[in-house]
Structure formats: C-alpha cells, structure tokens
C-alpha cells in the first residue's frame, strides 16, 4: 500500500511578486509580469523579479555562513522560507532527520559566472572572487536551503532544463512513497536573466520580440522569466499526525525522454509522460481536469503539446479547462514546472482558472479549450505539463483536497 503524499506548504518568487498571495491575486486578475527590462546591456521584454522587493524579503532570513549569494540562491531561499512557514514546519524535528531537499535548476548562477568572466575577458584581470565556484555551482541553492532549514537528509540539485522542477517534485513524491523520508522541500529556481544567458537565449531564436502568447495565432516565442517555487510535500500520515494544513495532494508523476532532438519536441515522448502520470495516479486519461500546459508560446511547442493533449485526453478534453500561466510569469526554465504546479493547485483549491493572456485568436494547429477569462472551475484533478529542451518530459498530477 503506497503512501499518499500531500502538500502542506508553498512559496514562490517571480515577476508577479514575492509570495503565493500576490502571485495568485495577480494571476486571476489577468496581470502579466512580462514588461520592458532596462538593465544595460540587457533590454527587452522579460518577467523579471523586482530586486528591491527581493532584497527586503531576503533581509528577514538568517543568511549568515552562506557566503555570497547568487540570485539563484536568493530566489530559492525566500520561496522555501515561505513554504516551510506555511507548513508550520519551521524548527520541527522532522526537518533535521526525515526531510529531503530536491531542487530543480536549468542552469547555475549565471550572474556570478558573468561577473567572473567579465573580469577575465573584458578587463584582463587575472584574479577571480574566491567564492566564484561555491556561489555559482548548480547545487549551491540546495546547500543554502539545507543550511537555512537545518536539513541533514538527502539534498541535491536536479537538472532537466525546463522540466527540472517538475522532475524534482515527482522524484520527491516517490522518495516519500518509498519511505525514504517523510517530508520533502522540493521545487526549482532559475536566474537566467544575466547578460550571457540572455544573449544565448536570443541566439536560439525562440524568444518573442513582444510577449508570450500561448496557443495563439501569430505567437512569436517565449518570454524569459526568473524566480523560484518550492513546495513542502509530506506523507499524509505525517501531516495528519502533526495537524498540518493540507493544501492538496501530489497524486501522480510521469517522466519520459524523447531521445530524438535537442530542441524540437516529440509528440510520442510528450504523450508518454502524460500517460505515465495518469497511470501513476491510478486515473483514466479521459478524467476531466484542469490542464496547466507547458505553453511556452513558441510555434513548435504549442502545436506539438496541443496535439498530444488532444490524443491523450480524448473525449475528456471538452469537459477540461486549459491554462498557460507562462503568459503571466514568463518562462522560469528550471523553476517553471513548480511555479505552474503551485498556481494550478491554488486554482483547484479556489475553484478559479487564471486566464491565458495575450491571446490574439485561435490557431488551428493549437486548438484547445483555453480559459481566456478568469472563470469558475469545478475540477478535482490538475495535470501540470513540463517539456524540456533535449526532449526531457515531466508531468505532475495534483488532486484537490475535498
């Protein structure tokens, strides 16, 4: 008999704001965080985090002994502190011995590496900051979370590009089911709006010059975002025993690899991950659901994802509701899957679908029952899709707590 895994805390940082409450309010108000960024030499539309608000939130945490913190770590620390507070776990003995940390990141601390390489190549200086490696390594934020929370259990970063944090949540689910830990602080973080990373994304030809328009005609690509989302997962038994607030259930996880192409999505691989998630949750794929798409707003992703969704959900699709929240918070790369799952679980609990923004009209190749206005929903099931470059796919299924 496998153990049920419930969600007892959530925290997030993104262009929409710091914290779950403002993120949710702005999501259902139809506000987008994608706005002009003027941070020379970076200029263009992006969903960036307000640095003053971030500094204010970070100032409330005890960050002593952590050294120099890249935004990658700051985002994760602020989001994790909110999640653990919400779960009522701060200072709980389970954190020390029976908790895992799994953090998904698509790239390391870009700002730290940029600053180091600028010294070498632009200024011809031979010395780098002695903390360049410990501040920028991809596992640094996982270590920082362990220090903040006093976690001595398994702690690691997990990387699968745009699916990283969905994989982190899914693997954490299975760690708890297997009894390896009772609690997991899992999710993801990304700080990709640094000059080098920014220019590299532009070079790939997938960034929209205007904004992110998922499943819309005339969509021109993705908008970069940044931030983090962390959830506290817990065995139901453990959560009930300590009287924790139960916000929902993480009921299923499916993962697959296309093994086909480094940038183009593959419909069979995408379908495989969705079907595996339904199997894991012991649900039929025709079950009507709130479907939180990967929905990047690129020509190829949206068409492939729409075809996969139509094929898997079949007759259940007309009774489902499809959302695409990257139109509001941009693409957080490694942080996207967790933020979208978090917003999706909030939508199930509140019974409101946040609207797909910036939609100019239907595109026959990506026709889906989109929520174009915020509206009431009565779904019990969330399907949250993440499909990464390199053909790595992860799908999470959440269940409303009734």
């Amino acid at each position: 008999m496998s153990r049920k895994v419930v969600i007892t805390g959530m925290g997030c940082v993104s262009g929409l704001g710091i914290g779950v409450a403002p993120t949710w309010q702005r999501s259902i108000a139809g506000e987008s965080a994608i706005r002009p960024l003027d941070r020379p030499p970076i200029a263009g539309p992006a969903a960036w985090v307000d640095p003053d608000a971030l500094a204010q939130a970070a100032a409330r945490l005890d960050l002593k002994r952590m050294g120099k913190l890249d935004p990658l770590s700051l985002f994760a620390l602020v989001a994790a502190a909110e999640a653990v507070d919400m779960a009522g776990l701060a200072g709980h003995p389970a954190l020390a011995t029976r908790t895992a940390i799994l953090l998904g990141c698509g790239s390391p601390g870009n700002a730290t590496l940029d600053a180091a390489f600028e010294r070498l190549y632009a200024r011809g200086l031979g010395k780098l900051h002695p903390q360049t490696i410990p501040s920028s390594m991809m596992s640094a934020p996982a270590s920082h979370l362990a220090m903040l929370l006093g976690v001595h259990g398994p702690t690691m970063a997990l990387s699968s590009a745009c699916a990283s944090s969905a994989n982190a949540l899914g693997e954490a689910l299975h760690m708890i089911r297997a009894g390896r830990v009772d609690v997991a602080v899992a999710g993801g973080s990304e700080a990709c709006i640094a000059y080098g990373s920014w220019v590299a994304w532009q070079a790939l030809g997938v960034v929209a010059p205007d904004t992110c328009r998922p499943f819309s005609r005339d969509r021109k690509g993705l908008a970069l975002g940044e931030g983090a989302a962390l959830l506290v997962l817990e065995s139901e038994e453990h959560a009930l025993a300590r009287g924790a607030p139960i916000l929902g259930e993480l009921a299923g996880y499916g993962a697959s690899s296309d093994a086909a192409d480094m940038t183009a999505p593959d419909q069979a691989g995408v379908e495989g991950a969705i079907r595996a998630a339904f199997d894991d949750a012991a649900l039929a794929p025709e079950t009507p659901a709130l479907i939180s798409t990967h929905g990047t707003g690129t020509k190829l992703n949206d068409a492939t994802e729409a075809a996969a969704i139509r094929a898997v959900h079949g007759a259940g699709l007309h009774a489902s509701t499809v959302i695409a929240t990257k139109s509001a918070h941009g693409h957080l790369i490694g942080g996207s899957g967790a933020l979208e799952f978090l917003i999706g679980m909030k939508a199930l609990a509140e019974g409101i679908a946040p609207p797909v923004l910036n939609h100019l009209g239907p595109d026959p190749d990506s026709d889906l029952p989109l929520a174009l206005e915020a509206g009431p929903i009565a779904h019990d099931i969330l399907v949250s899709n993440s499909f990464a470059f390199g053909g790595l796919n992860a799908v999470l299924i959440g269940r409303k707590r009734t």
Binding site: L63, K64, R65, G67, K68, K127, H129, P130, Q131, P134
Partner: protein, 78 residues
Amino acid sequence: MAVTADDVLEIIAAEAKLDRAALKPDATLTDLAISSLDVVSVVFELEDRFGLDIEPETIEPTFTIAEFVDHVVSLSNT
C-alpha cells in the same frame, strides 16, 4: 590608493554579513565566527579596490579586529 581602518571595517562587515557595531577591536575572528571563506573574500575585495597584495594565510583566526585592520593598513603604507 591608501586604505583606511574605516575601509577595512566596512569590507569585513559586508563580507562577513555582520553589523559594523559588532566589530569590537578586541574581538577575534573566531569570536565573531568570521570563517576562512569570509577572510579570503575580504582579502579579495581589499586587493580589488585598493590594489594591495595580501597573503590570506598571514591572517590568523586568532587575529583581533584591531590586528586585522592594522595588518592591512600597514601593508597599504609600505
């Protein structure tokens, strides 16, 4: 550029994430939980801003704040 005691204290406080007020002259680095990583970061900032050349190994954990400051200021005056 000559470095002042004030400059050194400001950099120690920033790199070790301590209040300036906590940097009592007779407190040792160990007392203040200033780690070796904090020390190499302080040294890096001093070298970067003031063009000094400091061997981090010359700064012992048993140094007091006053000794640390004097050590750096004397290097800057040579």
